[in-house]
């Protein structure tokens, strides 16, 4: 049966990641990086990969990884979300790794698992699993020409995996003909980039159905696992709000003793509990190759993004004016939540996917009801 809980290994992993992030990625430090215009933190990434091996979790041992699977990746994402940590885990350890695993291209997996290399999948961040766009053209060489807007984790990437023509191509991010332009992003701790190719040399790593399948697999993994990051963001928002209203006094009482505040936070707790069950289900399906994975991923993105956004909004509100300031972590979480809600397709898009997956058919065309 599906296991929706955390086992001891997962709890231990969580503790390690949280301890590292608490020391090396407090929000004040992240905010300072944001203010300095360089959100991504290579030193933090080096520690996460070097000390905890987070990049190699889903990579089989023979390719230099830990081979433990995607349930553990989900736990790492919860903690990274909790800390709004500015590292390219989603692009590299989820999207690129999953794509390479799916197309059996193992040459890059070792460097990725070891953290010697950062990669990402070059699609707009809002691309949903069913419909990868392809605005990049291939010429002989092979070489790529085209432009993809709003790519996640492209800024710190060494290798770009680009769906183009009928294949999936690897491109040296610092090579000739590649231009990455930082986007002024809503999510300040994970800024996007526009990526342009002008006859950029490329290597084809998969073709035809294998390539298409690899991209779909990568995006499905992204949708399924991003839910865990969203749970981490939501839980942190709730924790911050609870801590604040327990100590902040107005009218001679803790603000958290007022029912309006209490009940709002109780509702958030209920929603986060539900999001956690949904996210665990998606991670477990992905890890076990369950045939329900596509539905689980769409369910996760139909549910968890809204929960994280609401939790962040409630967190701002519960802090009153303080939560509306730049010098409080609430806005980092809000921006991450709101941006992630669009990633891999918004809730609306994933609900539409359930039309087919859950057999809830749309109205027949052209037959308006009286």
């Amino acid at each position: 049966m599906t296991d929706l809980c955390y086992d001891d290994v997962e709890e231990a992993l969580r503790d390690s990641v949280r301890a590292l992030l608490t020391t090396h990625a407090p929000w004040q430090r992240t905010l300072t990086r944001v203010d300095g215009g360089e959100a991504y933190d290579p030193a933090l990434w080096a520690r996460l990969v070097g000390e905890l091996g987070v990049a190699g979790l889903p990579v089989p041992e023979e390719h230099g990884g830990a081979g433990v699977g995607f349930r553990e990746v989900a736990v790492v994402l919860e903690e990274l979300g909790r800390a709004v940590a500015p590292v390219p885990f989603l692009g590299s350890a989820v999207l690129a790794t999953r794509a390479l695993l799916a197309c059996g291209e193992t040459r890059l997996l070792g460097p990725l698992a070891a953290g010697r290399c950062v990669a990402t999948l070059v699609v707009p961040f809002g691309t949903s699993p069913g419909t990868p766009p392809d605005p990049v053209a291939v010429s002989t060489g092979p070489a790529l020409t085209g432009r993809v807007a709003g790519v996640v984790d492209a800024l710190p990437a060494d290798v770009l995996l680009v769906p183009a023509g009928d294949g999936l191509y690897a491109v040296d991010a610092r090579g000739p003909g590649v231009r990455r332009t930082p986007v002024v992003s809503l999510d300040v701790t994970r800024p996007l980039a526009d990526v342009g190719f002008a006859d950029a040399p490329a290597r084809r790593v998969a073709a035809g159905a294998t390539a298409t399948g690899a991209v779909t697999d990568a995006l499905t993994a992204g949708a399924a696992l991003l839910a865990s990051e969203q749970v981490g963001v939501a839980q942190r928002c709730l924790d911050l709000a609870v801590a604040h209203v327990r100590t902040r006094h107005q009218f001679g009482r803790p603000v958290g003793s007022f029912q309006a505040v209490k009940h709002r936070l109780a509702d958030v707790w209920v929603a986060v509990s539900q999001a956690r069950a949904v996210a665990r289900y998606a991670a477990d399906c992905l890890a076990t190759g369950d045939p329900d994975t596509a539905l689980a991923a769409s369910l996760a993105q139909a549910y968890c993004g809204t929960v994280a956004t609401t939790a962040a909004e409630v967190c701002v509100q519960a802090h009153g004016g303080l939560g509306f300031t730049w010098e409080h972590p609430a806005h980092l979480l809000l921006k991450r939540a709101r941006s992630a809600a669009v990633a891999f397709g918004a809730a609306d898009r994933h609900r539409a996917v359930l039309t087919d997956l859950a057999d809830l058919p749309a109205p027949p065309p052209g037959a308006p009801r009286p």
Binding site: C5, R253, S257, V261, L265, A266, V270, R351
Partner: protein, 421 residues
């Protein structure tokens, strides 16, 4: 569960089934299960169990289900099974357990719950029904409401005030009421659905021997907590297959009636389906977490979500049906055997679901339980302590009562567990 206990249990079930035929009558078969320790595995031997860990109950249930043993139909004695049994087991004397558990399990003796009163709804600790000691008996006078099954019950879980001089949570004692005793008068209470699922119970000079007391004198609130925690988990806590609850009715109506569909309703349906599936997975996860333990305040969340979804989904089905939804099946005053939250018509289900956020603890109460007992938020200022409370007589700080003192809001009929099937 690949462990020795589980294997042993499966062996016991197999052997049991070789010797007992479920077709031989439900009561006899259930009695045999009890006697073989195959009722509640975590109960002691002799009291329907085998003294095994609680987490093995699903192994038992599964083994029986696989063998085609008919469902126990706990709804035949839902309050007995869901609330009385755990309360008796935890707080009862050996003799009480001996006396009550077997006929409760077999359904030969139906139980009801005598907690709520006209002026003690959400504020359950404010009950004024008095029990006065007279020799070896208690003499009980008062009025209870929202008592489902009272008209069929042999026993009632009774919360009564035995010491009006102390703080309200401390003057209560928990008794088991003999519903056949002289002075017990049961009257039907009609609901907005038209039926009379509940009752008012008038207690006039009812003599109950002290042997019917559960727990110590003055300790009734603590005993009642066990009942209430189990009540909330019972509601909506059963593991369901996908579309196993009210959402399944809506989804099937949707599939069957393409001519009623609109894009607006489709958007609502998809949202509801997602919410229902999330709630189902959450209940499943809670069950996996609690497999080894007793219900805690987290159960309140499941009950809260269940009520909200039942109300929303039944309303949506009415939206879908349009003109057809304006029809009702029957307004005559029925006395249903059990509430049927998924039965009758969409309009009935919509109306019945209005009670889900009231019975068994209002949604307002449950939110406060979550906020205070799960999130640790501070209680509201208290105004309902009698003067003696502010003196040295004040009780020491301890575990908060299940109905937190700071509770808000509308009353509650405790009502049926009414689990979603």
């Amino acid at each position: 569960m690949p462990d020795d206990d589980a294997d042993r249990l499966r062996g016991l079930v197999a052997e049991f089934l070789r010797r007992h035929d479920p077709a031989g009558g439900a009561t006899a078969f259930l009695g045999a299960r009890f006697d073989a320790g195959l009722a509640w595995v975590h109960h002691p031997v002799g009291l329907g169990g085998l003294g095994l860990p609680r987490r093995l109950q699903p192994v038992l249930d599964e083994a029986l289900a696989r063998a085609g043993v008919p469902d126990h139909r706990p709804r035949r004695n839902s309050i007995g099974l869901g609330m009385a049994a755990p309360t008796v087991l935890r707080h009862g004397t050996p003799a009480q357990c001996q006396r009550w558990l077997r006929p409760l399990w077999t359904g030969e003796e139906v139980w009801c719950q005598l907690f709520s009163e006209p002026d003690a709804g959400s504020d359950l600790a404010a009950v004024t029904t008095r029990a006065v000691r007279d020799g070896d008996d208690w003499v009980v006078d008062g009025q209870k409401v929202w008592t489902s099954l009272a008209h069929r019950a042999r026993w009632g879980l009774l919360l009564a005030r035995t010491d009006p001089g102390v703080a309200k949570h401390r003057g209560l004692t928990y008794l088991v009421c003999d519903m056949t005793a002289p002075g017990v008068l049961v009257r039907p209470l009609r609901q907005l659905t038209g039926e009379a699922e509940f009752n008012e119970v008038f207690l006039t000079g009812v003599r109950l021997p002290d042997t019917l007391r559960l727990g110590a004198v003055g300790d009734g609130w603590r005993v009642a907590r066990t009942t209430l925690m189990n009540e909330r988990v019972a509601i909506g806590g059963r593991p369901l297959p996908r579309e196993g609850g009210m959402i399944g009715l809506l989804a099937r109506a949707w599939r069957a009636r393409p001519e009623l569909r609109t894009h607006g309703l489709h958007a609502d349906l998809l949202r509801a389906w997602v919410e229902a599936e999330a709630a189902r997975l959450t209940a499943l996860r809670l069950r996996q977490q609690l497999a080894a333990g007793e219900p805690g305040p987290e159960g309140s969340a499941v009950k809260l979500t269940f009520a909200e979804l039942a109300q929303r989904i039944s309303a949506l089905e009415l939206d879908l049906l349009g003109d057809e939804g304006l029809r009702y099946d029957d307004w005559t005053m029925r006395r249903p055997e059990e509430p049927d939250l998924l039965g009758r018509t969409a309009a009935y289900r919509y109306l019945r679901a209005r009670g889900n956020s009231i019975e068994g603890g209002t949604s307002e109460i449950l939110r406060t339980v979550i906020a205070e007992r799960v999130l640790g938020l501070p209680p509201e200022p208290r105004v309902d302590r009698p003067p003696s409370e502010s003196g040295p007589d004040r009780p020491p700080p301890g575990p908060r009562p299940d109905r937190p003192p700071s509770e808000p809001g509308p009353d509650r009929p405790p009502g049926e567990p009414g689990a979603d099937r």
